[in-house]
Symmetry: C2
Subunit: 326 residues, 2 copies
Amino acid sequence: MAADELGEFERIARFFAPLAGPGGLGLLDDAALVECRAGRQLVVTADAIVAGVHYLPDDPPELVARKLLRVNLSDLAAMGARPLHYVLTTAFPAEINPEWLGRFAEGLGEDQRRFRIDLLGGDSVGTVGPAVLSLTAIGEVTAGKAVRRSGAKPGDLVWVSGTIGDAYLGLRLLRGEYSELSPEHRAYLVRRFQIPDPRTQLGPLLRGIAHAMIDVSDGLLADLAHVCETSQAAAIVELDLVPLSPAAEVIVERDPAMRPRLATGGDDYELLFAAPADAAERIVALSSRLGVPIARIGRIEPGAGVRLADAYGRTIVVEQAGYRHF
Amino acid sequence: MAADELGEFERIARFFAPLAGPGGLGLLDDAALVECRAGRQLVVTADAIVAGVHYLPDDPPELVARKLLRVNLSDLAAMGARPLHYVLTTAFPAEINPEWLGRFAEGLGEDQRRFRIDLLGGDSVGTVGPAVLSLTAIGEVTAGKAVRRSGAKPGDLVWVSGTIGDAYLGLRLLRGEYSELSPEHRAYLVRRFQIPDPRTQLGPLLRGIAHAMIDVSDGLLADLAHVCETSQAAAIVELDLVPLSPAAEVIVERDPAMRPRLATGGDDYELLFAAPADAAERIVALSSRLGVPIARIGRIEPGAGVRLADAYGRTIVVEQAGYRHF
């Protein structure tokens, strides 16, 4: 954690040291300490975001912070891990103002409390380009019990939490579309784009139930393809079973061609998993206990690739299998 | 580890997946796994570097990679930790070429073998600005035995490994100075700037000996000031005891005013520590066993701040207490 710029120490002391947990040693040391609990493995993931690519310079700084944190928590949830800590490195241009930083740190603080995690440390440097923020999140899981992408088996049912396509619609809305939508639906979709709700409770409870799991970031079909590839299996998804929010339903009702597009949108940060058919009852019970909708959308088959089908099993061809940022 | 750009998957598979250790799961999952060993703590540190600030775009990519890795290993060593793994996020401009990336990955691979560490995972995104590379390193230490910055006590002796000021001189040399120096001395100083030798063996062996430790990145005096501040103590350093390399001695002989400047240079990545006086014999034995020079340069006193003194105890005023990059 070298100091590279005048002002770095002050910036760290003012904005980031208050976020440090006990293992962060007040951000005053060369490194941070993380406890090892017997019978556990730590789970580590990282994401970087760039101003103008993954967020817009005039996005609320609190939301930028919380989204950066939450996309990582979603990755931990997809492994069945409970989140513990995070490490943050920031490269900001010289013109970043303290108010922006203060609000950014506030966003981190708010979500630290919500998800019971703390800051371990990091680094803060300057750049002449757009800001680049990199966050490494650390969670824990019972040793040997992490849920991988690679365990899906033919016969497994495919499930997804929450609703799909909202973030994609939220982005289109921010670009000026869907002005005819009700204010409530508009606000809902924009929020789903701006700040995901990582399934940090559900993920760990799916250990021992899910054979394979991933979080939906590239798009439902693309992420299911990742599961199929690493599991060496195929999947079929029944389009009508893909869960949509009331706001998305309004849009799809007016423009039915949007329905398959939503299955290729991204940034849903829902959990997509394969589980044996006899686990269905437990999954439904879990859904009801947590108040988190979990929908069965398809099944794993022998072979390779992901096929989208209608209720009669006929293949639906999708224009765009993937997702790109602004 | 979300995918944000076309080509990210190929880039990861080609350059980075071969660097992944068992816990990295082939970089094919949402997160990586780290074993928890009973009676250990993990030690975590992070550094970010920016093209044009911390390295120059035409620096050899292998050296950029190895320096990024090594500055983090130096932080782990300063805590007395043994290095295990690292996580890497990269933000590269579109014009980065595969040859550069290949050589960058080669540099990582070479140092992975040397330091017996492996890649856990990370993220790769695009930027329109200069490249920003962020590395989080994970090591381990016997629980409760990490060496902090805060444990220095009046009466402790202050020690430093290796030689001081070489990297600072190497940077000046790259800027066109010291052309009169012998080719051997020139090559030595440039190398000391371009690629540090983190004291990964020495650091863990100083657990139980050093009361406080830090690695010299901001400059000997500035880093000792960090130790004093967190330890709530003062330090006196005797300038003539600060160890210089033969190359640096040549420069100081011609320009004696350079001697105090070297104590404020940076990027030495040597270990600076305070230890009780009765540990001196063990430290000398350790130095001789490892073949790593360790010099006694001063002592900890009650009070605050760092004072540089001549052999008669007279204070030497230093122009610049700190270090800035290009």
